[in-house]
């Protein structure tokens, strides 16, 4: 019910095209877009490119979350790491990561490697900062208690500090998830031979606009649903903290 305006928008779209208010060359009707999307799904173009995108996005994001979280916790736990890496993180954080697209292409070419590297580099810092802040906010008394009960320093890190940092890591990872979509689509639009972003550009250059609109909508809504799904999942997984 809340999303009624979206339905309204879809109806207006269909109506203005059917009534001939806008040229079909500029805006294919929603029904044509749906048909073209269905054809793409059946013919497998969508799945092959989707798999390429999923692999790149998944690998880059997984690396970013694991290494980013480890780096953040290490910064919070060892002063020397903080002194060494902290200012670097601060200096690199505001740097716009999409600017690295041409560099990753120089390094690793047009294929999967350059996208994975880009997504890893672009998504790591929000997770690192989350882990750092989360681990630092861990109550010192908890750490002391665990230590006095005989837990080793590494044990404390795993059993006390990491769980305490999880909510903040999850927050950072949410930012990273959204960023990964943006970086994936931009890099595939600009230089790629496969992937959903590539498919959008390819269909557009070929003048197959109904299919292009279909893929754009699918990618946009995937971004939206991934965010919602992630939030649901985290609410469930982090329910213990409330």
């Amino acid at each position: 019910m809340k999303y009624l305006p979206l339905l309204l928008l879809a109806l207006i779209w269909e109506a203005v095209v059917q009534l001939g208010l806008v040229s079909r060359d500029l805006l294919p009707s929603l029904s044509d877009v749906a048909k073209a999307g269905w054809t793409l799904l059946r013919e497998g173009d969508f799945w092959a490119n989707g798999a390429a995108s999923l692999y790149r996005g998944g690998a880059g994001l997984a690396l970013a979350i694991v290494i980013g979280a480890l780096a953040g916790i290490a910064m919070a736990w060892w002063r020397a790491v903080d002194a060494l890496v902290g200012p670097l993180v601060e200096a690199l954080y505001p740097m716009p990561k999409s600017a690295l697209i041409p560099v990753t292409v120089l390094w690793l070419g047009f294929g999967d490697g350059s996208k994975i590297l880009l997504i890893f580099l672009g998504c790591m810092l929000p997770v690192t900062l989350g882990a750092y802040n989360g681990a630092r906010s861990c109550e010192q008394a908890l750490v002391w208690s665990a230590r006095s009960l005989g837990a080793s320093r590494l044990r404390v890190l795993w059993d006390v500090v990491l769980p305490a940092a999880l909510p903040e890591i999850a927050n950072g990872a949410r930012t990273a998830l959204a960023l990964s979509f943006v970086l994936l689509v931009s890099s595939e639009l600009i230089v790629a031979r496969a992937g959903l972003g590539y498919l959008i550009g390819f269909l557009g250059e070929g003048g197959v606009y109904d299919a292009m609109f279909a893929v754009v909508l699918v990618v946009a809504f995937l971004g939206f649903f991934a965010d919602r799904l992630y939030q649901r999942l985290m609410d469930r997984l982090l329910a213990w903290r409330a």
Partner: protein
């Protein structure tokens, strides 16, 4: 002394990074193609600055991103007030905003290009589309958070709705709106650069992608350095503007952290 170190820590980090870059590139561990020396890159930037090419690219990129940012700011703040105050507008736009916010809006670039062509209008529209979301959401949140007592008092003293908006709501909401604008500005710059990379032509993004196609790695790294500096300066200017506009606000008396 500790505070002094803290203040300069980012600069020391940047210097250390620059030094590490130069030494690593000189060490021969990587080819100059993979990572040209920083000194080569700086010489390249200097050359581009002397020939005027840098200023042309930089000027166009800044023009597009700032034009888009300005439009996004004006429409975003207006729309934010409208959504916060008007039931119909809220019913209409609330779901659109909450669905649109997490979407990768750059995916719409080919559609915008189809409608508006390859030139400035297209790039600026893409910037507006991407940068408007943080402004709208910040404005809505800020407006809804204005204390009711303030509104009641002003109404009681006979303020019209218009005066209320201008004299009470806007100033009270300004800190949070400014935060939204501060988020939107770097987005405007980077979206502009990505659009330039896709659509080509003059501009920092176009220059970088051309350099990349011709395997001109000093050109690519020059672009990175230029974009980093431009982004940093924009963020600093925005922080200054915030301090100016909010000089009356208690927050500006707190020590600045950046």
């Amino acid at each position: 002394m500790a505070r002094l170190t803290l203040r300069f820590a980012p600069w020391i980090a940047v210097l250390a990074l620059a030094l590490a870059w130069e030494l690593f590139a000189r060490s021969g561990a990587v080819t100059p193609f993979m990572l040209p020396k920083l000194s080569t890159v700086l010489a390249r930037i200097w050359g581009d600055a002397a020939s005027g090419e840098l200023w042309q690219n930089l000027g166009l990129t800044l023009y597009r991103s700032l034009a888009g940012f300005a439009v996004a700011a004006v429409i975003g703040i207006g729309l934010g007030f409208a959504v916060a105050y008007n039931r119909v507008m809220r019913w209409l736009f609330d779901p659109l905003i909450s669905v649109g916010f997490p979407m990768p809006k750059i995916a719409f670039l080919p559609i915008i290009t189809l409608w508006l062509g390859f030139y400035d209008v297209s790039k600026i529209s893409m910037v507006v589309f991407d940068a408007i979301f943080p402004v709208v959401t910040a404005t809505i949140a800020a407006t809804l958070a204005v204390e009711r007592e303030l509104l009641w008092s002003a109404r009681n003293l006979g303020a019209s709705e218009r005066e209320l908006l201008r004299e009470v709501v806007f100033p009270a909401a300004l800190p949070q709106i400014m935060t939204g604008l501060q988020v939107a500005l770097p987005i405007a710059l980077i979206v502009c650069i990505v659009a330039e990379m896709k659509l080509g032509g003059v501009g920092l993004g176009g220059a970088m992608i051309t350099a990349s196609r011709f395997a001109d790695s000093p050109g690519v790294f020059a672009g990175i350095v230029e974009i980093a500096i431009a982004g940093y300066l924009l963020v600093r200017v925005m922080a200054r503007v915030r301090a100016r506009l909010l000089a009356w606000h208690p927050e500006t008396e707190a020590p600045a952290t950046v």
